[in-house]
Symmetry: C2
Subunit: 490 residues, 2 copies
């Protein structure tokens, strides 16, 4: 669909076209006037709030990190500093019927917080305080703009651990993590963002403020609204505060890298580890293309003859970490690993980890990178890997795959030269086939990045029309005017 404009106008009589044009021009002028009124009203009710209306400022809020997705230019960007200001924004937006795009740090990978033409982007970046660390109950209370890494640092000072660690943890925000139910590297052991959220403060579409959940680990009073908002990508409300579950600081990690002659062998090693019941805190995969991309960039001396590598880590206490890596090692050997490296100290471990950390940036160096996010039940990882290879070859698109093999969540990343629209089209077709293949395996088209705007047309493919209909009825119940991040998720 992209790039194909409506071209039927030429077939209409000239007078009709002229009439239509006048209506459209008048409509656009009317729309601009309405928008100006909205901004004037917003300034009047929130005079202290920063509101960016310069084109250059608005441009910098147009995109998130979804390189292949074409977003719109925000009407304006609001930078509230309090729940009250967010409530004021939404009350005003409701009064004017103006759409609103909630946005965290803008590091999303589904176009979920990218700009919408004529919509107000509400960036939560200035609401970035850690409000409380409650050691006794092991929870932290934070504003949505807190950067994931900053929260980790703050709680580490109290000997506590905030587990969720998206690859972007150094620059992504907690609000965005909650919006997408972000995953990461250690989910295989510690769960996803959802598992760490105990309570939310949410501003509803009409400006009312509610609180969900609480500081209790068990609580069944009414429907679980917390879980409804987690992962809803700002389409049901704007999160203005979150109470998050912390853990005791885990012991230091033991780290291992294994190289495999075939993708299938790596996939089988993962399946064996899953079946064995060991609980590594990291179980990551990189394929041949990604290994080469990383090695080309950083000259790490990786085994480029290998078809895949696995990064395995254990943070089990005491001798158990060694035991777990021993199980992992024998699973790798049994599957036919060509070589295995165990880190002997923290520096070496960090070096091994860096290999995986560089994967996406290394792929981005090769051109426009369209990172996908498919998943499958863990036992079917070998089949998913085979499908990715087959589909990339069939569509003749360069593809590097890496990701969270221990969770059954992989990031096949298609790359092409900027401007090569032919390959871009083929990558689009390959992505669609990939979704169908993942779903056929009982998998998902998105494991941790979200439906957002970029995958919305495929949601029904996975969930079925009736389930999506239920989601839409919930959306309509909570946001009857459809002003919250319209055109995203459902």
């Amino acid at each position: 669909m992209r790039g194909r404009a409506l071209t039927t106008g030429a077939a209409w009589p000239a007078t009709v076209v002229m009439q239509c044009s006048r209506v459209l021009i008048a409509g656009a002028a009317y729309h601009r006037a309405l928008m100006a009124t909205f901004l004037d009203d917003l300034r009047a009710v929130a005079p202290q709030m920063r509101l960016l209306t310069d084109e250059a400022d608005r441009e910098s809020f147009r995109r998130d990190e979804t390189a292949h997705f074409e977003p719109g230019l925000p009407l304006a960007v609001a930078l509230p500093t309090s729940t009250e200001e967010v409530a004021t924004i939404l009350r005003t937006a409701t009064a004017h019927g103006t759409p609103v795009v909630p946005r965290g740090a803008g590091s999303g990978l589904s176009g979920g917080s990218a700009g919408i033409e004529g919509a107000l982007t509400v960036a939560l970046t200035r609401m970035d305080r850690v409000l409380e660390i409650d050691r006794d109950n092991r929870v932290a209370v934070v504003q949505p703009g807190v950067i994931n890494a900053d929260l980790k640092k703050a709680v580490a000072a109290e000997e506590l651990f905030y587990a969720p660690d998206p690859a972007s943890y150094e620059f992504c925000s907690i609000g965005g993590n909650i919006g997408t139910n972000a995953g990461g590297l250690c989910c295989v052991k510690y769960g996803v963002t959802r598992d760490a959220v105990l309570s939310l403060e949410v501003v509803l579409a009409d400006g009312r403020v509610i609180r969900t959940g609480g500081r209790n680990v068990k609580d069944v009073a009414g429907y679980s609204l917390t879980h409804l908002f987690v992962g809803s990508q700002g389409t049901l409300g704007i999160v203005t505060e979150a109470t998050l579950r912390l853990r005791p600081t885990p012991p230091p990690k033991q780290t291992m890298l294994a190289f495999f002659p075939t993708l299938d062998a790596a996939g089988r090693a993962v399946a064996t580890m899953t079946r064995s019941g060991v609980e590594p805190c990291t179980l990551e995969l990189m394929d041949r293309v990604t290994i080469a991309a990383v090695d080309d960039w950083h000259n790490l001396g990786l085994d480029r003859s290998a078809a895949a590598l696995l990064l395995v880590e254990s943070d089990a206490p005491g001798a158990r970490a060694d035991d777990e890596l021993a199980v992992a090692e024998s699973a790798c050997t049994e599957a036919g690993a060509s070589s295995i490296v165990r880190a002997t100290d923290a520096m070496e471990a960090d070096w091994l980890r860096q290999v995986r950390r560089l994967a996406f940036r290394a792929m981005e160096r090769l051109g426009v990178a369209r990172m996908e996010d498919v998943g499958a039940p863990r036992s079917r990882i070998p089949e998913l890997l085979a499908a990715i290879e087959r589909i990339a070859a069939a569509h003749d698109v360069r593809c590097g795959t890496f990701g969270h093999a221990g969770d059954g969540n992989l990031h096949p990343t298609f790359v092409w030269d900027r401007g090569d629209t032919d390959t871009e089209e083929r990558a689009h077709a390959a992505a669609e086939e990939l979704y169908r293949a993942a779903i056929a395996l009982g998998g998902t088209l998105t494991g941790e990045h979200g439906i957002g705007a970029a995958r919305r047309e495929f949601l029904e493919l996975q969930r079925g029309a009736d389930a999506v209909d239920v989601m839409r009825s919930i959306k309509a119940a909570l946001d009857p005017l459809g002003i919250l991040n319209p055109g995203r998720v459902v």
Copy 2:
């Protein structure tokens, strides 16, 4: 409110009263005729399905285990054996506007599956098959009528473990566990039912069948409908199949019992353990009244001078279980424990465990037992215990408290002689004060039993009017005719 009928009729003129009576009688007859049509239609579209209409049969589905709650007599009881039959029931109920009460094993403690006058009870007891145990992905697929203990047994044969263990696990069903988001004894380590549910098949109010979630550990495609249905007590749909997360079988437990001279000392021991970061798989409390009730019944030779006991267990691997119990022991000693018993073998451990397991039944022997289910953030357990003592004394109601101290979830249980309506009224007032006290501590009025019918009038007290309004709008979106378990939860 209970027992206070509307008595204003006497003040109205006799003719008006007579007219009203006629209207009411005609209305009741019309209603009976409508109901008969509904049952006839249901028989016609599901001729193979068992449908109980005898009064004695219906009587046996009137109550759940909520002794103090007065339910209605079901119009009839349907016992479907397939998703198709459940869909047929709901299509027919929608066509007639007939209310439906979904019911598992009937062991609920909130009146959530108790009968409603004129409503069809749909008991899922005959849909009781374990459909699949997938060892590779560590999931089980089950029908809702499977008994919790039977599932545990089935997966144990595959060296796997289904964690959720309500005290009623020997007779409660998985469907009911999902409906209430049931807790249990090992939640402190392994989470509640919600944490074990990956996917659901749900029949909607109008008979459409949807599937939520999947077999993937990471999946962010659309809103999390799974979490919306978990804990919704049959008010949003009827669960006809569930995919549940399993774990590797944990090592055998180490078990310890500690006695305390004051409730506060026990509460402080719990708070210290929570803060320390140990992860016991059981951390249960019983107060003086409960200890005496159990000892009176089974003559176990318990220390009846103690104000409270704690049962602590660890199933950590290897020597770590000993380490964890050592931490627990020193927390108990530090808090002033008067004696500590460590089980030296499995039989002794089972004996210690039995003390706690007998608690509720022992309280039931003393009269009508109204078990409450309040919770608080774990650090505030000492305050919650103090509040319970104070409130029971102020209202002069006998109360025994036991429960899941490690989760901050306690079961103060008020008892009175059958027929003693005075004390029953006082217990009602005490319960309300207890809810307010728990909420004031940042807690909950129900940690694991559910709002159901018995606590519905208090939901707003905890969640606030706007949050309950959101819940009601979701209910209206999914069940526009309000036929699913009306008057429960929201």
